[in-house]
Symmetry: C2
Subunit: 199 residues, 2 copies
């Protein structure tokens, strides 16, 4: 398979590239690194990247930014950061990429444990993750040409835990390599409309 | 209690106003009707409405629009309709109203059955409902002054079913008066961070 990984140089993206790279051709895309440059917040940039890459069998997105701040300090524009980036960036990746993915191919998006297990400062992340999980479930039943779509919702990634642990009290960590297996399950499996939780 | 109902002249809003009106002072707000005019998509309009109404004990929102169309015809701007209206309209209602609600007061937002049971043409509704459910869960743990926040996720409302039934094959209907009980449960109860499903 030919697999486009958006955010391939991030902590999760590298692990997914390593896992899928064992048996597939991986094309790395990112805002400022990778073989293909793509700014997910810019529809024209997404379209240009797909045009450059051509037909692929799977698209994996491990990118997406949201603002973290105490709820008391969060205002409308702070939520718009995540809505533009991790939410509509991933949705637009599907909407714009759906013509380029081969029959029976797949999209695999990324949410995270805050979809169901909130922390202080994480209300935008929860909102965005809940939105993507529901979008994946709904888009799955209307996908053309046997295309599939799933999300992976990993817990606190072990490789990022040192910096983030104070915000995730008592959360167990997940090695990125273990989260990567869920992406492989989505890409190589036959399921659709699923949220793969890796707690 | 003094209860502000946004969308009080809609099908669900009328039933909630009737239920809560039995024992509370209800103030009706809406875009083009009600004692107070409020356009949820306009932060200035929300702020002006709260300034006019003053301190309230509970805010209920039964308003919110999303675009319904087959997934193949949905593009980024079509999702933005629901993101601006039902999603960020309700979020902004909380962000802007949180200073005006009395200690121990509550917000009750509206999602719907498409949060977990998708239909053709409903991918934006699913996305928005999933986002609000997760926002409510996350905002609840950071609310100041004992404020509470819940969502009601009703099924297909009986009074709207004649027009909508073709889009909801085999869905059982829910009388608006029964859905209204879930709003009363949120407003008069003590729970927070909950999604009350009324299937």
């Amino acid at each position: 398979m030919k697999v486009l990984i958006v955010g391939a140089t991030g902590t999760i993206g590298r692990a997914v590239a390593a896992e899928l790279g064992k048996s597939h051709e991986v094309i790395a895309a990112g805002r400022s690194s990778g073989a293909v440059r793509m700014d997910m917040t810019d529809a024209a940039s997404i379209a240009a990247a797909f045009k450059k890459v051509g037909r692929v069998d799977a698209v994996v997105c491990t990118a997406g930014h949201v603002k973290f701040a105490p709820f008391a300090e969060m205002h409308g524009e702070d939520y718009e950061v995540g809505n533009r980036d991790k939410l509509m960036g991933q949705v637009n990746l599907v909407l714009i990429g759906r013509e380029t993915v081969a029959d029976g191919g797949s999209f695999t998006l990324t949410t995270g444990v805050l979809d169901s297990d909130p922390i202080r400062g994480g209300s935008s992340a929860s909102l965005v993750n809940g939105a993507i999980n529901a979008f994946v479930m709904a888009a799955a039943i209307e996908m053309p040409r046997g295309l599939r779509i799933n999300a992976v919702s990993p817990g606190l990634i072990q490789e990022s835990a040192e910096a983030l642990a104070p915000y995730f009290p008592g959360f167990e960590t997940v090695p990125a390599a273990r989260a990567a297996l869920a992406y492989a399950r989505s890409v190589e499996g036959a399921q659709t409309g699923r949220v793969y939780r890796v707690p």
